[in-house]
C-alpha cells in the first residue's frame, strides 16, 4: 500500500511527473467521450460532428480565408517592412476585406482607420511609452 502511494522522486525526472498524470487523465476523458459518442450513435443513429454544426449556414469563404491568410502574413510583413508600413497596409486590406466592398467610401474609411491607428500606436506606445514595437 505504501508503495502505491509513493511516487519516485528524482531531480532529473521532476519535469515528467505531473505531465504523466495529466496525460493519463486526458486519456481517460477522451475514452469516456468516445464511449459516449458511440453510445449516442447507436441509440440515435446520429453522427457526432455534422457538417451543419461545423459551418454556419452562410459561410463566407472569402472573408474568412482572406482575413485568416492576412493575419498570418502580417508578422512576416513586419519582419521585412517594419511596424509602421506593414501595419498601414495590413489595416487597409483587413478593413476592406471585412467591409466586403471596394469603393470610394470604403477606401476612405479603411485608409483613415489604418493611418490614425498606426500613427497613434506608433507615437503613443512606441515613442512616448517607449514600448519595443515589432
Amino acid at each position: 500500500m505504501k508503495d502505491l502511494l509513493t511516487l519516485e522522486m528524482s531531480y532529473s525526472e521532476y519535469h515528467l511527473i505531473f505531465p504523466k498524470i495529466v496525460l493519463i487523465a486526458l486519456g481517460i476523458t477522451i475514452l469516456m467521450l468516445i464511449g459516449r459518442f458511440v453510445l449516442k450513435f447507436i441509440r440515435e443513429r446520429k453522427g457526432f460532428i455534422s457538417m451543419k454544426r461545423l459551418l454556419s449556414s452562410d459561410f463566407n469563404r472569402l472573408k474568412f480565408f482572406a482575413s485568416l491568410g492576412l493575419l498570418f502574413v502580417y508578422p512576416l510583413l513586419m519582419n521585412g517592412l517594419g511596424f509602421v508600413i506593414s501595419t498601414v497596409i495590413f489595416m487597409i486590406v483587413l478593413t476592406l476585406i471585412l467591409m466586403g466592398r471596394v469603393n470610394k467610401k470604403a477606401l476612405m474609411v479603411s485608409v483613415t482607420n489604418s493611418l490614425t491607428t498606426t500613427i497613434v500606436v506608433w507615437y503613443v506606445f512606441g515613442r512616448v511609452f517607449d514600448i519595443t514595437l515589432p
Binding site: 528524482s10 476612405m108 485608409v111 493611418l115 490614425t116 500613427i119 519595443t132
Partner: protein, 366 residues
C-alpha cells in the same frame, strides 16, 4: 501626455463621427507627411557615416524579472551610458534563452546587445543553455559591476553561524542532515558545489552525504522553503534578504547570514566571506564574484565596441553612478572589452574544475 491619451480615446471613438471622417483624414495625412519628413531627417543623418551608434539600443537581459539584480545593474549602466553615447537605451527583461536567441538574430550594428552575469556561461556548462551560446560565439564586451552580496542564509535560531560551522555541526551530530535550497544551473549552484566539495575534502563523505539540495526557482520560493522547513540553508543575497536579518524581525521569519561567496566583505555588513571561514577547493581559497558584463554579436563593428568601452570607462568613474549602485550594495568593477575575454574564459576554466568534481543533483536531492 494627457493630450496624447485623449487623442487615443478619440481614435477609439472615431466610428461615431462619420461626418468628420474627411477632416480627420486630411489632418492625419498632414501629420503623416510631417512625421515622415522628420523621420527621414533623423535617419539620413544617422546612416551617412557608418560606424555610428544606432539611435536606439535594445539591451536584452538574461532574467525575466524587473526586480532582480540583473535588471538593476543593466538599468543603472544604461541610464548613464545613453547620455555618454548619445543614444537611447532600453532594457528588456526577456530571460536567458530568449536573450541569446535575440542576440543571435541581431544586426551587427549594435542595436541589440545583451547584459547578463556569470550564468551566461555557467548555464552552458550546467546544460541549462544550448552549447551554441558558449562565450566563444559572442563578442565579449566590458565587465561592468559586481553583486558582492551573494550569500547563504539560515533561520535565526539555527545552531551554526557560518557555512564552515554548518559542516562542523554535521560532523558532530551524525544523525542530522542539512538541506540547501538553490537554483539549478546558475551562480547558486556553483557556490553550493564549492561548499559541498570543501565539506567532502575536510570531513569526508560521511558528512557530505548528509548535505542535500532542495532545487527551486525564485528567491521567494527559497525563502518559503526555509519557512516551511523544507530547507535549512538557502541561497540569497544582501539586497534581497538583509531586511530579514535585522534584530526587530519576528522570530518566525528571521534569518541570519552564513557567509558571502565574494572575495571581499561588503561594507556595512558583518558577514564573513567563504575564504575567511577557511573554505577551500583543491587547496585554493574558494571565492566567487557575481559579475555583470555585456555580450554582443560576434561580427559587431570594432568601432562600436570601442565606443561602448570608452563610454563605460567614463560612466564607471562617475560618482553619481557609483552612488546609485551602492544604494543596493553593488560595486563597480570595470574590465575593458579587450581584457574581459581572457578574464572570463579563465574564470570559466576555474569554474569548470569545480563542475567536473561536483555532485549530480539527482543523487543529493530528495
Amino acid at each position: 501626455m494627457l493630450l496624447l491619451s485623449s487623442a487615443l480615446l478619440k481614435a477609439l471613438k472615431i466610428g461615431e463621427e462619420w461626418c468628420v471622417m474627411k477632416k480627420i483624414l486630411v489632418v492625419v495625412l498632414i501629420s503623416i507627411l510631417a512625421l515622415v519628413l522628420a523621420a527621414c531627417g533623423s535617419s539620413t543623418s544617422g546612416s551617412e557615416n557608418s560606424g555610428e551608434i544606432p539611435d536606439r539600443v535594445r539591451v536584452v537581459i538574461g532574467s525575466t524579472s524587473t526586480g532582480g539584480d540583473t535588471f538593476q545593474n543593466a538599468e543603472a549602466a544604461s541610464r548613464y551610458l545613453e547620455d555618454e553615447m548619445s543614444t537611447n537605451m532600453k532594457v528588456d527583461a526577456i530571460g536567458g534563452v530568449q536573450a541569446f536567441d535575440e542576440l543571435s538574430k541581431a544586426k551587427d550594428d549594435g542595436s541589440t546587445v545583451m547584459f547578463f552575469h556569470d550564468m551566461a556561461y555557467l548555464g552552458v556548462e550546467y546544460g541549462a543553455f544550448n552549447e551554441e551560446n558558449k562565450l566563444e560565439n559572442w563578442e565579449i564586451g566590458p565587465v561592468v559591476s559586481i553583486n558582492p552580496g551573494n550569500a547563504f542564509l539560515t533561520s535565526g535560531d539555527a545552531p551554526y553561524d557560518t557555512m564552515a560551522e554548518s559542516a562542523e555541526w554535521l560532523s558532530e551530530n551524525p544523525d542530522e542532515t542539512v538541506t540547501v535550497a538553490i537554483q539549478a544551473g546558475g551562480v547558486s549552484e556553483i557556490i553550493f558545489d564549492g561548499y559541498y566539495l570543501w565539506a567532502k575534502e575536510e570531513f569526508g563523505t560521511e558528512v557530505s552525504d548528509r548535505i542535500k539540495v532542495y532545487v527551486t526557482g525564485s528567491q521567494e520560493d527559497k525563502n518559503q522553503a526555509l519557512w516551511d522547513g523544507n530547507a535549512d540553508i538557502i541561497h540569497g543575497s544582501i539586497g534581497a534578504n538583509a531586511e530579514f536579518t535585522k534584530e526587530e524581525v519576528e522570530d518566525k521569519v528571521k534569518m541570519k547570514f552564513l557567509g558571502l561567496s565574494a572575495s571581499e566583505r561588503v561594507e556595512g555588513y558583518d558577514i564573513p566571506t567563504f575564504a575567511e571561514q577557511g573554505i577551500t577547493v583543491n587547496g585554493e581559497e574558494f571565492t566567487f564574484d557575481k559579475e555583470f558584463f555585456y555580450l554582443m554579436p560576434k561580427d559587431i563593428e570594432d568601432s562600436y565596441v570601442e565606443q561602448l568601452d570608452q563610454s563605460l570607462e567614463e560612466v564607471v568613474s562617475n560618482e553619481s553612478y557609483q552612488e546609485d549602485l551602492s544604494k543596493n550594495a553593488y560595486i563597480t568593477n570595470y574590465i575593458s572589452a579587450e581584457e574581459s575575454t581572457d578574464y572570463l574564459l579563465e574564470k570559466r576554466e576555474e569554474v569548470n574544475k569545480i563542475i567536473e568534481q561536483a555532485p549530480d543533483l539527482d543523487d543529493i536531492s530528495h
